[in-house]
Amino acid sequence: MTAPQTPDSNPRRAFIAAAGAGVAGLGFTVIAPGLHLMAVGEANAAEARKAGTAASPAVRWGLLIDANKCAPGCTKCIDACHTENGVSEKLPDPRQNSQWIRKIELVDKRNGRVTQLPMMCQHCAEPPCVDVCPTGASMKRADGIVLVDRHTCIGCRYCMMACPYKARSFVHAPLTQQNPEVPRGQGCVESCTLCVHRVDKGQQPACVESCPEGAMVFGDLNDPASDIAKRIASVPTTQVRADLRLNQGVRYQGL
């Protein structure tokens, strides 16, 4: 059994962080913000999880989304997510289609300010969907990723009732053209997996990689040296419905 790795005990991450800091120190911070963000994002890319080892509780994967950068009309993150995860069905009633990620347009009732942002499973530390699931199919991995076990989901949809973010979809029809790495199932509930199959290979979620504005940062919230942790420490960020005290892994900037 492998002992959980703390951020400090992870030599590769420490090396990458040091390299990132060195690159920044060499003056790359003057490059355009988008390029800078991508470069640091790469430097904080997840380490591949070795086959047969459990997810580490020392890690808390999260996303920081800068709503100020989210461009109106842009759906690249949605397209990338649905392509990556094989979410392609187009049912006659669009309300029955799965949407793992969606764009929401917000208009502030007080001043009319318009904000765009992508919304998906918020990967709560205290997920109501996990609490209510009768079979335990809704589960939270040790590294904070909230998932549905396709083999034990009975399709009762109680988790959909419980989710405060409307982040879950029910598969209403038979599926074709599935991605073998992302098993889905008719009659089961599903939601954003934070591209767990990519994260376990040391890659970033598809939505993060596809965003042309660099509005999304993925990383380890527990690692003070990670870009996401530094950003959250330095700029005001918001958890949606923070009043519910669910401690989401997805944070927003510019809300």
Binding site: D93, Q96, R102, L106, T115, T152, F170, H172, P174, G185
Partner: protein
């Protein structure tokens, strides 16, 4: 009421049992169709995830618990009048729970994974608790019926009745808690729902009992003694009034919170559910039955008491429709203070229309409960037999 001629009585029984069986079979076929095609053939979607089948199922499950109140009045609280009615109440409890559970289970996205539900238990899930609550309910009611029907076991009837009483209070608290435990929905998420569901179960279960009892008496050419009718109608009126009171408090408290005013305005004044609430739930399901049960011209007549009980059942449908469908149709307030829109119905009111397979599945559940009841009362001879002298001597008939 209609009393069949003795020569035709048996044929009529088989006809009714066959109709019940066919309705149940059609419901099963509809479920298989939904299982094969997916829920795309239903009116349910990713916003309104629970629909008509859940309205019917929850009615049956709530009423199944409540109908046992009749038995509890006899065994637990020692009321002689209700003792002779306890076996029928136990049978109805089992029949209605079976119908309700059949609907819930057949509506699952993966109904074939029943064994998964039985073998994977999440202790924090109210649904998970049901895996324990329902089978034990069956077991307790079965034992309770046994103690009543087997003379040697009679001394244990009170203990079995008490256990059943406690268990069904827990069970219906669990049903209410399914909604009470939802943290972010404006319509739910209040502790009031657990006791309110218990009160609702008393009203709806007794209404069903009165209708079934009236039918059985008519079938056998008997008349319910006026004293017993009076007692039952007073009890029904009390429960209906208590349910109406809980409804008023639920909406009043919700409307008091600024964050929920939009939802309450939606349900009470400005939506497709407004009519169902005021006319269906309040007028038909509560005020009219209360008027019939208390008005001097109707309160002593069995026909009108039966009509009142029927209206309570119709009102229960409207109440659950408003509560379950209406509660989901209103959008989640994910971003308080913002107007929101998206491709996923954020910020938008949804509309739900049940499809034919859903309707057939829901009615199929009623068919299962009906068939089990009609066969049960035929085989087990559960017609309540009253010894009025004993009742009057026990003093339990007096108001």
């Amino acid at each position: 009421m209609f009393t069949p001629h003795p020569r035709h009585e048996e044929a009529l029984f088989y006809l009714l049992a066959a109709i019940g069986g066919v309705v149940s079979a059609i419901g099963l076929a509809a479920a298989l169709y939904m299982e094969h095609s997916g829920h795309v053939v239903t009116g349910m979607n990713n916003q309104i995830v629970w629909g008509l089948p859940h309205v019917f199922a929850i009615f049956l499950i709530i009423a199944a618990s409540g109908v046992l109140n009749v038995a509890s009045m006899g065994s637990v609280f020692g009321r002689v009048l209700y003792k002779s009615r306890a076996p029928l109440s136990g049978l109805l409890g089992i029949a209605m729970l079976s119908g309700g559970l059949a609907i819930i289970m057949l509506d699952l996205g993966r109904a074939d994974r029943l064994m998964v539900a039985a073998t994977h238990f999440n202790p924090t899930s109210v649904f998970g608790w049901n895996v324990i609550l329902y089978p034990v309910f069956y077991g307790l009611v079965g034992v309770y019926l046994w103690t009543m029907m087997e003379r040697r076991m009679n001394p244990y009837a009170k203990a079995a009745g008490l256990a059943t009483f406690v268990w069904r209070v827990v069970l219906t608290s669990g049903t209410g808690s399914i909604f009470a435990f939802l943290v972010a929905r404006q319509a739910y998420g209040t502790a009031l729902l657990a006791p309110m569901f218990i009160i609702m179960s008393f009203a709806w279960g007794l209404a069903v009992f009165i209708i079934v009892q009236a039918t059985m008496y008519a079938w056998n050419g008997m008349t319910l003694p006026p004293l017993i009718l009076q007692r039952l109608k007073n009890l029904l009126a009390t429960f209906v009034a208590a349910t109406l009171y809980c409804t008023a408090i639920l909406h009043l408290v919700n409307a008091y919170f600024a964050k929920n005013i939009a939802f309450e305005t939606f349900i009470l004044f400005n939506s497709e559910f407004t009519g169902a609430f005021w006319i269906g739930q309040v007028l038909i399901g509560s005020l009219l039955p209360l008027a019939l049960l208390f008005h001097p011209a109707t309160r002593a007549r069995a026909t009108w008491v039966n009509v009142a009980a029927l209206l309570v059942i119709v009102g229960a449908y409207f109440q659950l429709h408003v509560f379950i469908i209406g509660g989901q149709a209103f959008p989640l307030d994910i971003f308080p203070g913002y107007d929101v829109k998206s491709s996923f119905m954020d910020g938008a009111v949804d509309h739900y229309t049940a499809s034919l397979p859903e309707i057939l599945l829901a009615v199929g559940g009623l068919g299962i409960a009906f068939t089990m009841t009609i066969i049960g009362v035929r085989v087990l001879h559960f017609l309540p037999q009253d010894d009025l002298a004993e009742i009057e001597a026990a003093g339990s008939i007096t108001d």
